[in-house]
């Protein structure tokens, strides 16, 4: 580190710059920052402008999600829970939609009243849930022997990857209503979910294709020689292996998707970033940008970390290595 003059100088200046910025941060934290903009608006960050007397619904959903996350990450020793966990994770997403929108005895709440953290999580989870099977379909389509399906899938994937996400979101918000027949209306949240789904599916398809191509041809030959049909080969031999290989890349997609949901704040949804912008527009909190954005960064960091941990668990669960360890 201090082997010669230049190294020493570099090290000392890096340490100095680091300490100096730390000092500035602490000075700001201790003397200038005012966190009222965060503490007074916590319900808004969490639920947006959801009707106050109905806030228990998004609150309940978030609690269920937190519970599932804790159970998944820390794996308590209740053996019965391990088996229902995947079903619970898939089921909790439609449950969230149901709790937020109401019906079945619950007071209906229009989607324009949804917002904040809840909406961010909802956008991300719904899009991921829908994009995953769609992505698998396009990945299979791209490997199809039927030219029509093959080229349509390839065209779709290439087209969607060639367009920036924001323009697809604009398309979803502004153009989809124009194409729909009179009287048919799709709310903004659904339009956003559709746009995200279509976009992410193309990337998921490519990630799966990467995993697919890593499977040696000899696997397919063995499967064919056993008399399995094309569909059975895909279902039992290719997909399990391809998805396992593609899982780290798919984790990336999920985290990217979460962060991309913030783009919807430009298009009028009051998800986490959107609600923060409207809080900042309130004259009472004028100028408190830094506090709000530091707070936001913290929340996004926490969600991303939790997602990464959850998906690490999934990776672990499907890995052959783990199954082997369990055997020994």
């Amino acid at each position: 580190m201090f082997s010669n003059l230049i190294n020493s100088l570099v090290v000392i200046s890096i340490v100095f710059i680091f300490l100096f910025s730390l000092l500035l941060v602490f000075k700001w934290l201790l003397f200038s920052s005012q966190w009222g903009v965060v503490t007074q608006n916590l319900p808004l960050y969490a639920f947006g402008v959801f009707p106050v007397d109905q806030r228990w619904r998004p609150c309940l959903w978030l609690l269920i999600l937190a519970f599932l996350s804790i159970v998944t990450i820390f794996k308590p020793r209740w053996s019965w829970f391990g088996k229902v966990l995947p079903i619970a994770w898939v089921g909790v997403i439609p449950l969230g939609v149901g709790l937020l929108s109401g019906g079945l005895g619950l007071l209906p709440v229009e989607s324009r009243h949804w917002g904040g953290f809840t909406l961010t999580i909802l956008l991300m989870s719904c899009s991921a849930l829908l994009a995953f099977p769609l992505g698998i379909m396009f990945a299979i389509g791209r490997q199809s022997k039927l030219p029509l399906i093959k080229y349509f899938s390839a065209l779709y994937i290439d087209a969607l990857r060639a367009v920036p996400l924001i323009s697809i979101l604009f398309f979803g918000q502004l153009l989809i209503p124009l194409f729909l027949p009179l009287g048919v209306e799709i709310n903004r949240v659904s339009r956003a979910v559709i746009s995200f789904t279509l976009f992410v599916a193309a990337y998921i398809a490519e990630d799966i294709r990467g995993g697919w191509q890593a499977i040696p041809n000899s696997q397919l030959e063995a499967s064919k020689a056993l008399g399995l049909s094309q569909a059975q080969t895909i279902r039992f031999i290719i997909l399990p292996q391809a998805l396992t290989i593609a899982l780290p890349a798919l984790t990336n997609q999920a985290i990217g998707l979460l962060q991309n949901t913030s783009l919807m704040s430009i298009l009028g949804l009051v998800e986490l970033l959107g609600i923060s912008r409207s809080i900042l527009a309130n004259p009472v909190f004028i100028g408190r940008y830094i506090e709000v954005y530091v707070w936001l960064a913290g929340i996004y960091w926490v969600i991303c970390t939790v997602m990464a941990l959850l998906l690490r668990q999934l990776e672990e669960k499907v890995s052959i290595q783990r199954r082997i360890r369990k055997n020994v």
């Binding site: 000899s218 063995a222 064919k224 020689a225 056993l226 008399g227 399995l228 052959i320 199954r323 055997n327």
Partner: protein, 247 residues
């Protein structure tokens, strides 16, 4: 004796002038063990892979387990053949994400629609024949090459095939593991299983084969009993090959 494979004038060309199969006509009888030998690149692997439709051919006619196959390679006929013909590969080609037992019961459950219990019962029986019952719950990567290849044989047997194809089954094995696989094959032959085996194992061919087929550059050079082939081969090329592998 009735035949199980009948090939008439099979031709397959890779590039112009180079023929992987050059006018092959032959018959394999039921309960016969046929060993296919030849230098590398002679087309022996190509030949046995055409028998279950893994390779196509350009002209000629093939009939396997009573199902005809022409150069148009009707998918339905190929699947009908594969349901009755098992194959064992050089690199085992077990499915790494499935346990040994799952590897074996997959095809019986999905192709023959057996229940899991029936399929597992039969699979355990096959594993005990192969002497590897203890490994049933393990995964392929935990097994030695010889064990993996015996699992592959059990998997090929799971569909109760009328014919087994072996594509150099011992070439990827450590020398000390070769015999356990050859022993398993020997037992199968004694039980009357019809087998076509591509191999360089002279000892196995001498002892187990009913006939030996010798190929060179896509041509069937000679097809005769092992006694005649190894001591008194008719053709110059066969003798040259035998000299080389016995050195």
């Amino acid at each position: 004796m009735s035949h199980i494979i009948r090939a008439n004038n099979l031709v397959k060309s890779f590039t112009k002038g180079l023929r992987a199969l050059d006018d092959i006509s032959m018959v394999v009888n039921k309960q016969e063990v046929l060993v296919v030998m030849g230098p590398s690149g002679s087309g022996k692997s190509t030949l046995i892979r055409t028998f279950n439709g893994l390779e196509t051919f350009d002209s000629g006619k093939l009939e396997v387990v009573g199902v005809p196959l022409y150069s148009n390679h009707d998918e339905r006929n190929i699947r009908a053949i594969r349901r009755k013909v098992g194959m064992v590969f050089q690199q085992f080609n077990l499915f790494p994400h499935l346990s040994i037992l799952e590897n074996i019961i997959l095809a019986p459950m999905k192709v023959q629609k057996l229940t899991r219990i029936e399929a597992e019962e039969h699979a355990m029986h096959l594993l005990s024949q192969m002497g590897i019952t203890k490994q049933a719950r393990k995964y392929p990567s935990q097994l030695s090459g010889g064990e993996q290849q015996r699992v592959a044989i059990a998997r090929a047997l799971a569909l109760k095939p009328e014919l087994l194809l072996f594509d150099e089954p011992t070439s990827a094995l450590d020398p000390e593991r070769v015999n356990e696989v050859l022993d398993a094959m020997r037992t199968l032959a004694q039980k009357g299983m019809t087998m076509v085996v591509v191999t360089h194992e002279v000892g196995f061919a001498r002892e187990v084969a009913d006939r030996v087929l010798f190929m060179d550059s896509g041509k069937l050079i000679e097809m005769t009993t092992p006694d005649i082939f190894f001591s008194n081969a008719k053709h110059e090329r066969s003798r040259k090959f035998l000299n080389q592998i016995e050195k």
